[in-house]
Amino acid sequence: MTSTDLTPPAERDHSTPADPPVLLLPERPRRMGPITRALLLRFVAVVALVELAGIVLTIVGDTTWRAAGLSLVLPGGGFLFTAAPLLFVLTWAAITVALVLWWGMSGHWGIPLVWMLSAVASAALADGPRLFVDRGTTWEWAVPVVFVAAVALVAAVVRSFEVRFRRKRAMVPELNQYLASASVPPPSRPLREPDDMDAELLRWAYELTLQPIDEFRGFEWGEQFHGGTVVRYELNYLGWALAPYAVNYVPNAPAQVELALRNLVLKQTDLRVWRYWRTLNLVGNLDANPDPLVRDNIMFSGFTGDQINLYEAATGSTRFDEPGSLTFVWSDGRTFAYDHHSWMEAVQRNFEQSRLGFFPCEPGWAFAACNTIGAQALYGHDRLHGTHLWDDIEARWRQTLEDEYLMPDGKYANIRSTHTGLSWDTGETPGGEYFTTGTHHFADIAPDIARRGRALSLRGVPEKMAAVAATMVDGELPMQLPLEWERNRARTTAVPSWTKLIAGARMVGNEPLAAAAQRAHDRQCATGEVWPERPLAVGVANLALHMLVRWSTPIDNAELNARGYVAPVGPLVDAPWPAVLITLARSTDGVSLQCCLRPGATPSAEAVDVVFDQCHPGAGYHLSGDGIERLVVADEQGHASTSLVVDRPLSLRLAPSAVVDA
């Protein structure tokens, strides 16, 4: 870690050429990409065949065959014909459940199964007894109603798609004009000093991560498929949050944070975290293999792959490069041994084998966000290890992003079915689409697309932020944000709204607003509670995301992913956890060390050994600050130590005697 690494970008020497012009949107966008079209045509052909069969049976068949045919035309339609409206309603209730399971559990066979069963059942019951009407009764009026309903259903879907497409296409000239002339303000990236709230957040994060690997106190457990209580995401988010803390705040105190980051990765291999995959694989792929990396599951392999890269880039530790260092063990003792390299090779193999170019999270569902994070993971691995995993797939990945997922207005579809080519709003993001995605917003893997996405997403935002900033009084935001439900519906909280405001202010370079928003957030959301309670009134996932935004300055994870590991210069410091919490350890000049030590959860008057390393061998150092003043002499290995009573926050400076004298 050199001093220039922590210099805010705005203050750096910009000797590189100016940024190229922002990428414009296609002027004649296609309705869908070639692969999506092929998938959709296949889907339409299958549905058309079923419809055709239904029509033929309805026209030429007797009562039994007509009932079956009408159920093929419209699921359960035959029940209307055979005067069994209750079964018609039940069929659609089942279709709804199957639809939810298709999305939620990758039960692709659910809707076809219900559809076909409705045909079989309506044929079987055609001559059967009826409720309230005589046996053998048929309702002839149902025939035209079913046909009209089927046509209306198809027309509604097509119209919805077409209207949306045309509305977005009409925006292209205006958006391109904006992009061609847009002046997007640079983000603010201050070098922050950790405050009391930072310390409490860090302490909580360490308590959570430094407990034994197999213990998960403090995590929120619930369903592990893709709801708001998924522990793998909590681990990802915490890893993503602590990595920038490691490089921005404690680059010269790697011991505590390295262990915390390492444990977060190791916890991902706990069976409770990843056993959901076998269920999804069985339901969605009809494959009982529990190996979480070999097929699909990019929401695990891509996310955690990215987390491993950031761990390595932040700490320099190569322990996960060792063969078998990331071994999954199934409940029957089967092992699936991976390491950082083979993990990434599995991700790349999945990309290569995917017809769409993006590969699924849950079987059959390929998300743009997850595939972007998967791409970040390959890119980061290449940067750390000099491999070409990302290079090999980059062109195809971009093609998929731009051809299959890009909408006319510059947004990307959140999701696409790899079986049918369909896409819809899953409710996870506003409108089911976004201008940028992944955790790095394309900044590392596709900077040109990132610039366009940033410009589009910040359209009108500086003005909005300025309006909020205008409400500041004496540098403070005298306001509270409304509470909103968390995704897991466990509680209401204002933290995500504040996090968005802080991030938005930073994105448009309004640091005074960002800082005021952060203080206002702390005032509204701090609980004052300590481990195992949370310091903020929010769930684990959103708390971690708040820490990610809070600590991602001046270096964010996109920059860290591109930069890779840079060893810290200047003295290093370490102290025993949990007696001492190191919240700051930086060397901005490469020779001295600024550090902040805080007492453990229960402050003690007992002295602890504070160890310094990487000092000049044999040199004397002055340790000073907060009433401490003493000389520390490094031995021949550049190692020094001193005993300190850390019963209050200590802001200390370790500097060579010569520097102090000067």
Partner: protein, 413 residues
Amino acid sequence: MDDRSLRARRAVVVAVSLLVPLVLVVGLGHRGVHMARNVVFPGAGLIDERPVVALLFAMMAVGATVAWVRWGVDWSVLAVVLLSTAAAGALTSSDAHAAVAQVDRAAHEFPLVLIVAGAITWLRSIGGRVPGVRHLHARRARSMAGLRDIDRLSVVDRCRCGAIAALADLVPGVERDRVMASLEQPAIATRARRVGLVARGRRGGDPFRVDHAHARAALVLAGRLDTAQSQRFVTDAVDAPGGVPASEPGWVRPLDATLAAVALDRLGDAAAGRRWTQMLRGPMSLRRGHRPAFWWTPIGVSAGSAPAWEHAAMAGIARSMGWIGDEDWTALRAPVLGAAARGARVRDDERLIAAGRLLMVGIDDPQAAGIVARPTVQHDPIAVALDRLAARLSIDPGALRSAPRQYEGVPCR
């Protein structure tokens, strides 16, 4: 007891089991058919005519089997069979429906009782896997605080825990004090006295004079058995069919027997290890990845599969004594890794993890070592004791073999 005697006994049992039903059917006609059915399973011969009595005998059979398996009350099974057979003879008529009666001539009571015993065990294990029940088991297991809660174990498990903890050579402190205090509680002798009385009619005297391998091993290893009792322990072992005392009358269980063999070795019975090794290579040998759950001494039959944690614990101790090789690790590797993956929430998993650590001391399997090292063993007292023993052996693999022999003067035959 030599192999020939045991073979002869087994032949007699098989012959009697086959002949009795045959004699009953041939000699007593329809009434004999009903009686023969009761030999096959108590109550079966009365199901047609006296269903309530049949149910009563069936329940008695299950109870007798449990008493036999848990406390060695083998006569209770025989008594129920005889009683039900006699009842069938007295309560059934000799009408014509005998013509359609069939007899399963190949069956006899011993295997059927084993099936009942197996079914009970199976039902218990299935019950333990039912989500709600499993959750309750896990919750109870998590509420234990390691060796400090040794008194919450059953007497048998308390003895096993004490013996293993003694081998682990705990540092002086609260845990060691609790273990020692637990072994001094009268409940251990009380159980031995009651089992001796009910199973074998032993009245008065030293309750530990025969059998009770787990208790005597624990007391020897903890230095709580006096010289006379130790001498009787050695004498009992030498006279015992398997070369080690039984746990309960008639039942030699592998973990108890292994602990007893170590205790005997400590007492200076240099042949104890050799005798137990013969058993481990013979009737208690590894078959299809399992070691038998028991060896029944009256006819020298081994059957069942030892629970994985007992198998691993037994094998770990026996291996550290040099009595067996690495073959048990090969068989148990997958179950141990599976337990490590599932975590230490359930008692048996926690025990298996700790026993796995013990078993793999000195085995070059870094992948497994990393996996097995991850779970935190902290709740179940036996698991914690096994974990401590594993930790001790990982520092000094020869610690058990090189331990000083106590009571060197104990006479050995």
